[in-house]
Symmetry: C2
Subunit: 356 residues, 2 copies
């Protein structure tokens, strides 16, 4: 049966990424060797890393603008401490916007390094919206935000214009919509949503912001050392980087971010229209802040849950239950999820309406 994979991450990737990466494990570049058994310093893998780094910048429109792309490991959670290590001055100050579980995790780590001002938070409303109208202290070393909140289904539509470096965790919506990425000084993203499998983290850095803290930074946490080593300071996560390159190539061949944004908008329009139309359902997040990646919604009457769950499971849908902190359902519609899968879900929602 055809599967419709709504997993919130790690998540669906293009079929050609599965096919090509499986083939590379059996015989990489027709070398007679597996991708898993070659040196990361081999010409073939250095070419993979170089292309992944330059393609990431190309897709984001950041080539030739003073940015460097790194494929690190440790996940976005390691960036939570690398950011203050690299940007917060001794006795300095950082400003954070608290929009969800991951933003809150980043704040917790920053507090270990110095004064961390939370400029606004929607925690009291269970993060059901993006705070607006906040003020960022002008003496902060940087401002940190999270562009998309997977768990709560909210997404920042506007980003502040500030004199200080802006850092954004784009783990769950990078490469999904057109933004002026040059507004940001550091963008980081765990690969396992729109970029590849779990195991690598893209970090895009405007080089000129580094080296200003006077802080002693352990080597593995030092962005400057990773840039100098061309993202090979130590053995990189070879397979995750390769599969990420394949995913970025797929996106480029599709027409880049502008092309996928149209598809993503169509998917989001389809599901949200049904959520708003169907009297059995309601959206979980503020309408103006709805994420085009993760649509969170609830049944108005929990008594229909068993019937609904049986229907979508029978249709080959997986990964639909919402996170325990919101409940209900979450339709994660990352880049590789086809519009057809959203139509299947919408049809099931209509079918439920006709049955109850």
């Amino acid at each position: 049966m055809k599967k419709h994979n709504y997993s919130a991450g790690p998540c669906i990737l293009p079929q050609e990424v599965f096919d090509k990466s499986a083939q590379a494990i059996l015989n990489f570049n027709d070398s007679g060797l597996s991708l898993l058994e070659i040196s990361h310093r081999s010409k073939d893998f250095v070419a993979v890393m170089d292309e992944a780094r330059s393609l990431a910048l190309e897709l984001l429109g950041l080539e030739g603008k003073g940015y460097q792309a790194l494929f690190l490991s440790g996940g976005a959670s390691l960036e939570f401490l690398m950011v203050p290590y690299n940007l917060m001055k001794e006795n300095g100050k950082a400003a954070y916007l608290d929009t969800g579980t991951w933003a809150s995790g980043a704040i917790k780590e920053a507090k270990l390094f110095g004064e961390t001002v939370v400029v606004a938070s929607s925690k009291e409303q269970n993060y059901n919206h993006i705070p607006k109208g906040y003020t960022v202290p002008t003496d902060a070393d940087y401002f940190h935000c999270t562009s998309n909140n997977t768990i709560f289904g909210t997404q920042m539509k506007d980003f502040p214009s500030l004199e200080m470096p802006i850092v954004c965790d784009m783990s769950s919506d990078i490469f999904s919509r057109v933004i002026d990425f040059s507004k940001f000084d550091i963008i980081y993203a765990g690969a396992q949503k729109n970029m590849g499998p779990a195991g690598t983290t893209l970090v895009v850095i405007k080089e000129e912001i580094l080296g200003k803290t006077a802080r002693v930074i352990p080597s593995m946490l030092d962005y400057a050392k990773h840039i100098k080593a061309e993202s090979m300071y130590n053995t990189p996560p070879v397979f995750p980087v390769y599969a990420s390159l394949l995913t970025l190539q797929w996106l480029k061949n599709l027409g880049g971010i502008a092309a996928i944004e149209k598809i993503n908008n169509a998917k989001a329009a389809l599901i949200y229209a049904e959520i708003d139309r169907n009297p059995l359902f309601k959206g979980a997040s503020a309408i103006e802040d709805r994420s085009i990646m993760n649509a969170t919604f609830l049944l108005n009457d929990e008594a229909h849950a068993a019937t609904f769950d049986a229907l979508w499971k029978a249709a080959g849908i997986s990964g639909l239950p919402g996170h325990r902190s919101v409940g209900g359902y979450r339709a994660s519609m990352y880049n590789a999820l086809p519009l057809e899968s959203v139509q299947v879900l919408v049809d099931i929602m209509k079918e439920l309406e006709s049955k109850v």
Copy 2:
């Protein structure tokens, strides 16, 4: 043509690991989904992580002895700072044995945290042997050593008995020989030699040594947090962990470490006998410290290099050149390299002798 892969790491893995992991990318556990697109919280992947953790302890003979196994990311290089973060007291002291490039890298990071005593070093002799007869200060918070030095082809045959915690970087010889692993309090190893592909790091910790430094540890660097989260504090590197599990299963089916040690000893005996017998070659490291994983050797007359290089390349051998800091050749004979491949190399060395 049959390949003989002497890559120093990432390196050869068992063919069944390539076959099974490629299949899991196409259809994992017959679920109709790729291993790359499922949630790390799914029942199927939680089972992978649990089995990998318990099988690592089982193979090391450490089950039920107060140890925990973690599959982290960041590589052994991230452990260079996690070890002092977790074990070195504020105003404490650590003792390190300097046996090569990676030991030296670990020392450099420890120095950022506090007094770091280098108890002995073979650096002046280009790390061609393992220092012996050193004294470890009894007031050190821990002692750190590196069991095998990939670049220089040396290996520790004995480990000191000490009252303090002993930490060992076993990246390049873990699971290759029988040792009383319960002598150690932390063992860490990047996967990409005997355990799996690049992208995950095994850390084995005797739990009772944690929580004694009064140091504030960022979450991602805190062993206790990773243990509490059962190695899922954040999204783990799914594919590298799965391929590592397959490699550990292969080793268990083969008969475990005792069985592979016999094969490894046979491979090492074969190559070193030829290095010592063949008048064209000489070993690069002290005989009593020779590594059974990495045999380093040189031509007595560089004039024969072009002929030798042509011969081994024609025989399907790859990855044989030595590291630039030693020169010559390095035959890396990790667990998955068959004895047959060593025989091919030895035959080429004999052929060279007959030709010149």
